[in-house]
Symmetry: D3
Subunit: 63 residues, 6 copies
């Protein structure tokens, strides 16, 4: 049943995303006893300029 | 007051979306006694390649 | 595939919630062509005192 | 720790968004005692045609 | 129209929450030109033991 | 920066949840190149009676 939503900056490759959702699905099966059949992993890509940490947008950060 | 968020694959037509939000609004009014005035229905369209079920992305699925 | 999240005040009965999720599921099947098998409807009940409209919390509102 | 998500119609300028996330961050620090370092403010821009109020999509509304 | 969701640890007082939603509403009106009438601010309180930062749950953190 | 939200039925133990957030954090670091410092994993536990699949609530399902 679980639904996992990953909010992260835009920019990962398709291969990274595919490997990521497989690893998260495995983690849910292994540690939460979830059944894969109804286990959704949804990626929300957010532009850096729409995501602030400590009041500073991603595209303005120096780190 | 309620806020209903619909997360689904990209690709429905405007007519489908309009009919959908009306039907969901009606369902909320009929079954949850919600007042339409402050009832929001928000559609989040997610690309197939960003949505995995059972660890497999939508654009890789055979079904 | 779709995931519908309903955020509303605490307080509906189980019968109301059951009728609501059936009606929303029907709306998704009828108007968005969704397959029921992987269609989730998740209800988030939020206390009135944690939900503000126009800056006023639900438990302070006069309407 | 807090994560604040702002869902609103597409269309604000970068300056508006920057000022908005600073003000929301200040509000969280002032009123909720949050530490800025791990305080995220995420903006989800949603097209008017995907957001209904009282069953009517944003791009169809007269007000 | 906007909907602002604040996810934070359980534990703020009602007065803190009321002041917080007023300040966030003001920020949305001032900086995003939002109309207060349909502006929702929803607080999701999450127990520390259900929120991890850097892989460590809130109730296990030393800082 | 990423924020991962896990929505699942109520009922996992603290040990399961701790192991789960560590595994998801590792997956994000390994496959999405995320830095652990600002990586949040938030668990939303939802009662079975508030989560429907194919129009049937979790506490009514036979499987």
């Amino acid at each position: 049943m679980p639904v996992v939503t990953v909010e992260m900056w835009t920019g990962r490759s398709r291969e990274q995303k595919r490997a990521l959702v497989r690893a998260i699905t495995d983690a849910m099966v292994t540690h939460a006893g979830a059944k894969p059949d109804n286990l959704h992993v949804i990626i929300h890509e957010v532009p850096k300029e729409d995501w602030a940490l400590a009041g500073v947008m991603g595209d303005e950060r120096k780190d």
